[in-house]
């Protein structure tokens, strides 16, 4: 079977994870004009909470049910009691505080679980491979693609069909307008932060059985998320999806050819998009 | 005003589209030296768009802007400021944490050209900028507040400083965007006297909502309506014009 096909599917899986990390960051960026440098640490903590639950109970499914909501709570607290006081501060202080929060989470993780990465076992149900003729692929990775695709659909429905979704979509256009409609935008911000942290935490949890939980996985994830957010268009749900998949597939396909080259290209693309098309490749002109 | 003073600032056939919306539909006029030329009109008449085309904040879709005989249509705002155009802002737009003197000095220093890029000598070496700043302080009676931060001035004083920043570069044409916006009655009369006095030395473009002030101190009033010039002439003529009343009050129905 073609190596490229395998890598394409790998790339889709990685891309979906990138999307889940990025979408919250993007919406927070778009609605609050706030860059959260602690977002990568949410992903990190999500992975470790998942590890902790699996280590304690042996159940990956319980971990997946418990860890992301715990991250949502963490995100909600961080927004409510720390970050919300910075919405009117110059962005260098927003960056300083979120960098500080990221450090606290990262070092806290090492304090609790040690400085060496931890492995998370693949759940028994999903161990092994799927075989379709000559197509052989790990079950768990297929599950990640399917599960995140389903979740993406649910999220999309929620954004399109619910009142909160409508408010949020309006918020990425103009927060003033939403405020004028008499909606408590601060509650909306808290909720959005919680959602972003939930998704980042879930991404961390889903990645753990593939690449383990590592105390230094935050900055790398944050960095890729910035690329996805910029390329897809700040505040854009579909942009984050397309951007995530694009970056995932490009990285995966290039990994056996020239992986540093892929990384250089990705950041060149990020700079070009900001310079030439700041609304993102999919953003409305 | 001297009726035969040369035109300092001219616009010919200015058009500005925003998508399908035509904000300016071919506006032409000439602002004579040593005169106050006011632009009035109901909201949406195109005054702000016109102002932005004159200062270079917007590029007109068609038409030319001429400053002292030179075509400046394609010049960016900072270049216009360097060849004699000073502007104020409708919403006070100052260097909040700098003192009044330092703000004025910086505004004057912009005219120093390449010398403003001097990296190593003290700024005091540019005596011309400091002298201009002192002169403006004196002229605007802001000298008691010389070392107060711009952000700590009263609103009225900030409006005066707003004009001062436009004045510090010794411009030949001054564009004032609603200089009395938000001012109290006492402050308005100070501003009115100031504009009238400045109008004896500069060509002034004035956008203003305060009708009494406009009719009192302007030499020429241009009434705009829906992106076009409705009436232009001396204040008395504008005051009596029926079309102006209709434009302001809406159709009689």
């Amino acid at each position: 079977m073609s190596l490229y096909l395998i890598q394409l599917i790998n790339g889709l899986g990685i891309g979906m994870i990138y999307f889940m990390i990025s979408v919250g960051l993007s919406i927070i960026f778009g609605t609050m004009n706030f860059v959260n440098f602690a977002h990568g640490a949410f992903y990190l903590l999500g992975a470790y909470l998942c590890y902790a639950v699996v280590a304690a109970t042996g159940s990956f499914w319980l971990a997946l049910a418990v860890a992301p909501p715990a991250m949502a709570l963490t995100g909600w607290f961080a927004e409510r009691y720390l970050l919300s006081r910075l919405y009117h501060a110059p962005h260098q202080y927003q960056i300083l505080v979120t960098l500080g929060l990221a450090l606290v989470i990262q070092e806290g993780v090492m304090l609790v679980w040690g400085a060496i990465g931890q492995n998370v076992a693949t759940p028994v149900l999903l161990q092994g491979v799927v075989v379709f003729g000559s197509f052989v692929y790990p079950k768990y990775r297929l599950f990640v693609i399917g599960f995140t695709a389903l979740l993406t659909f649910v999220l999309w429905l929620a954004l399109e069909r619910t009142r909160y979704g409508a408010i949020l979509r309006a918020g990425t256009e103009s927060t003033e307008m939403v405020a004028l409609l008499g909606i408590d935008i601060f509650r909306m911000f808290s909720f959005t932060f919680a959602l972003g942290a939930y998704l980042a935490g879930l991404a961390g949890g889903l990645t753990a059985p593939i690449s383990g939980a590592d105390p230094f996985m935050g900055p790398g994830a944050l960095s890729v998320a910035f690329v996805v957010v910029v390329i897809g268009g700040i505040g854009s749900f579909s942009g984050a999806l397309a951007g995530g998949l694009l970056i995932g597939v490009v990285q995966s396909e290039m990994s056996s050819l020239w992986s540093e080259g892929a990384n250089i290209m990705i950041y060149v693309a990020m700079a070009l998009v900001i310079l030439v098309r700041p609304r993102g490749l999919l953003g409305r002109a | 005003m001297t009726a035969d003073a040369p035109a300092k600032l001219e616009a010919s056939g200015l058009v500005k589209h925003f998508g399908a919306f035509r904000a300016l539909k071919g506006v032409s006029f000439a602002v004579r030296d040593r005169s106050v030329h006011a632009f009035i009109g109901p909201n949406g008449a195109g005054k702000t768009t016109l102002f932005n085309c004159l200062t270079g904040t917007l590029r007109p879709s068609a038409g030319r802007v001429i400053l002292s005989g030179r075509d400046i249509t394609d010049l960016p705002p900072h270049r216009r400021a360097r060849i004699g155009m000073g502007r104020s802002f409708q919403v006070t737009n100052l260097f909040q944490n700098l003192t009044v003197f330092e703000s004025l000095r910086l505004a004057a220093q912009a005219q120093a050209g390449i010398a403003a890029y001097d990296l190593v000598r003290p700024m005091e070496r540019l005596g011309q900028a400091a002298a201009s700043a002192e002169a403006v302080l004196e002229r605007l009676a802001l000298h008691p507040y010389r070392d107060v931060k711009a952000g700590e001035l009263s609103h009225g004083q900030q409006r005066i400083l707003e004009v001062g920043l436009a004045l510090a570069g010794s411009p030949s044409v001054l564009l004032l965007d609603e200089p009395t916006a938000g001012m109290g009655v006492d402050d308005i009369s100070i501003m009115k006297d100031l504009i009238a006095a400045l109008g004896r030395e500069h060509a002034i473009v004035l956008i203003e909502h305060n009708m009494n002030l406009v009719l009192d101190i302007s030499d020429v009033v241009t009434v705009m309506h829906q992106g076009e010039i409705l009436v232009e002439g001396p204040p008395d003529l504008v005051r009596r014009d029926e079309r102006v009343k209709v434009a302001y009050l809406g159709s009689e129905g």
Partner: protein, 334 residues
């Protein structure tokens, strides 16, 4: 602007610090590291404090300065001065390129652009392993003596002489930057920081000023990188990692961006605390994270701002009445 210390006092205190540091600190090596990072912080402070530009690109210049100096010394027998000049030239060229493009955008888009460039240069350095040593870095960098007209000024072999070189460069750059910020150019930068739109309206080509400031900042940071390579005799890939930018930014804001002296405080605090605390407790960064959160929320003037506030509080009790309290508004604005 009301200041705790007048510029000449700041210079005097900085000179005193240069003399005292190698005595009070546990090692001369630590003092050298302090001085080198103060230089890098000064470069960053020029952008954040005086232009209001937060750049994640500082690691690029730190790394490029280190590589340029190291490669010059590794591949030729020219003196140490040529190494430093190579660092200046290389960081100036790269800063001109990055600055010219980054200053096309403002606010958070500027930050994101510098972030993208920082990652780009990191991966370029990583990929060009033949030149930069890639992940291993450049090893065994020679440290030739400082010779002027055939007279050996410093052999640079004893640690104190390496410290002396860094200290002299620091003082020279401090004096230079003090002049820059009080020059017509520097005063214009502050106008841009306060209100760029207005600076344009009064006639400044603010793009030019920002690009020049970016290049100055890049060169100062590049010199710091070169000194770091000479000091370690090693140029690791980590020099050009975006986390280096973060470190330099943290030192700048922690110290206080309102004055150059803040950088002296920030660089000293970070390096000394980092060295000492990490020896006691490997998780000391947890503490740093908490400090960053406190500074960002409550002490936006940094250490220097805190000292000024304290001095005002003491001064208010004293005989000298103070004119209206200086606003505690942060200096930079988005």
């Amino acid at each position: 602007m009301r200041r705790l210390l007048q510029p000449h006092v700041e210079l005097a205190v900085s000179l005193a610090a240069v003399v005292v540091l190698p005595i009070v600190l546990p090692s001369i090596a630590m003092a050298t590291e302090v001085v080198i990072f103060i230089i890098a912080t000064l470069g960053c402070n020029l952008l954040i404090g005086y232009v209001g530009l937060m750049s994640f690109g500082q690691a690029i210049f730190f790394g490029v300065g280190a590589y340029a100096c190291s490669l010059t010394l590794l591949h030729s027998h020219v003196g140490i001065g040529a190494g430093l000049l190579a660092a200046i030239a290389a960081s100036a060229i790269v800063a001109l390129f990055v600055g010219f493009l980054s200053t096309q955008k403002r606010g958070i888009y500027f930050v994101m652009l510098t972030f993208a460039f920082s990652q780009m240069f990191y991966f370029i350095a990583y990929a060009m392993a033949g030149l930069t040593g890639g992940d291993n870095g450049l090893l065994d960098i020679p440290r030739p003596p400082l010779v002027l007209f055939h007279v050996t000024l410093l052999s640079l072999t004893p640690p104190l002489e390496m410290y002396g070189l860094a200290a002299v460069v620091f003082v020279a750059l401090f004096v230079f930057l003090q002049r820059v910020i009080t020059s017509p150019f520097g005063s214009t930068l502050q106008a841009i920081r306060e209100n760029e739109q207005r600076a344009i309206a009064v006639g400044y080509n603010t793009r030019n000023f920002k690009v020049i400031a970016f290049v100055l900042s890049g060169v100062v940071t590049g010199i710091a990188g070169a000194l770091y390579a000479l000091f370690l005799q090693f140029a690791p890939l980590g020099n050009i990692d975006v986390s280096m930018s973060e470190r330099i930014i943290v030192m700048s804001i922690l110290g206080g961006t309102g004055s150059l002296f803040g950088s002296v405080l920030g660089g000293t605090f970070y390096v000394v605390a980092g060295n000492m605390l990490s020896a006691i407790w490997p998780r000391w960064l947890l503490l740093l994270g908490l400090i960053l959160m406190v500074v960002g929320c409550y002490l936006q003037g940094g250490l220097l701002g805190a000292a000024e506030r304290l001095a005002r509080r003491i001064g208010r009790r004293g005989p000298r009445a103070m004119t209206p309290a200086a606003s505690n508004k942060p200096v930079g604005r988005p």
